[in-house]
């Protein structure tokens, strides 16, 4: 069998390339989700008519329950994490006193939330929906405001 190239240069190239690349440039991308997606509720839940029992049947168990000034609040929430980082550096500490390095990192957690407020009689009194996931990652993290 004929080897397509000499083994010694190949090993040296491999070693140098691997170390050079891992030392110089790196990119990291992380995504995470916690919880299930919030279903569209505008048709299923109507303020003034929907009962607590109907909401539980339709949406399942809430992530949190709270009492707020005589009203019971069911909170459904999903969180979405997006994190990325780009780093460029030249490791020179073995031959020079300092190294050259430029890095940029971003971390964004967005929340989809649904809050249902029920009266003490169990009738839906108020509904609040926020869909943080509709805000795009880059636009949101680079803007000063909400990223709209």
């Amino acid at each position: 069998m004929v080897c397509p190239f000499n083994i010694l240069p190949f090993v040296i190239y491999l070693f140098m390339l691997g170390n050079l690349l891992t030392g110089c440039v790196s990119y990291r991308l992380i995504r995470g989700t916690e919880g299930r997606s919030i279903p569209p509720v505008s048709e299923q839940c109507q303020v003034g008519t929907t009962t607590l029992e109907e909401a539980l049947e339709t949406l399942g168990a809430p992530d949190q329950v709270a009492e707020l000034e005589g009203k019971d609040v069911l909170i459904y929430r999903r969180s979405l994490l997006a994190q990325s980082g780009l780093s460029f550096g030249i490791p020179l500490t073995d031959i020079w006193i300092s190294s050259f390095d430029i890095s940029a990192y971003g971390r964004l957690v967005r929340y989809d939330s649904l809050l249902l407020f029920f009266t003490s009689d169990g009738i839906l009194n108020k509904m609040v929906i926020e869909r943080g996931s509709r805000h795009p990652y880059l636009k949101t993290i680079l803007s000063n405001g909400k990223g709209d």
């Binding site: 397509p4 190239f5 190949f10 190239y13 491999l14 390339l17 691997g18 690349l21 891992t22 110089c24 440039v25 790196s26 990119y27 990291r28 991308l29 992380i30 995504r31 995470g32 989700t33 916690e34 919880g35 299930r36 607590l52 029992e53 909401a55 539980l56 049947e57 949406l59 399942g60 168990a61 809430p62 992530d63 329950v65 709270a66 009492e67 005589g70 009203k71 019971d72 003490s120 169990g122």
Partner: protein, 126 residues
């Protein structure tokens, strides 16, 4: 084309040899038996009966007209992939939850169930 073969082979091997994959699984385990849910009867079951069936709740919340007992456990699955200069990570966390509502007399009024933990999945972030 032959001139490119050697550097391409090296590049490919460098990526392959220095890559790494990680799989992780975490459980926030709170044992409750969902088969007991059929025995819950609104208007009849008491808080004592519910705790006997499902065990001690993870959280108790005081409400305007009674209390809510929350039973929860979660499962998260994480995936990591390192390819020399790029690395990717992903995690997915899902929960099984039961929220049981009681009136002021500790009688079950209604309950909600979400069994979602087994939907947690390994994957990549794209």
């Amino acid at each position: 084309m032959n001139r490119l073969r050697e550097p391409l082979c090296i590049l490919l091997l460098a990526f392959t040899l220095q890559s790494c994959v990680m799989l992780a699984k975490n459980k926030d385990y709170y044992p409750f038996d969902t088969s007991q849910l059929e025995k819950l009867t609104p208007g009849k079951s008491t808080a004592a009966e519910v705790t006997e069936m499902l065990g001690a709740p993870s959280t108790i919340v005081k409400l305007s007209n009674g209390n809510a007992y929350i039973y929860r456990h979660s499962l998260s699955k994480g995936t990591g992939l390192w390819l020399v200069i790029v690395s990717f990570g992903n995690y997915d966390k899902r929960k099984d939850q039961i929220v049981v509502f009681f009136d002021k007399n500790d009688v079950l009024t209604h309950y909600g169930v979400t069994l979602d933990a087994n939907k947690a999945a390994y994957g990549l972030p794209f």
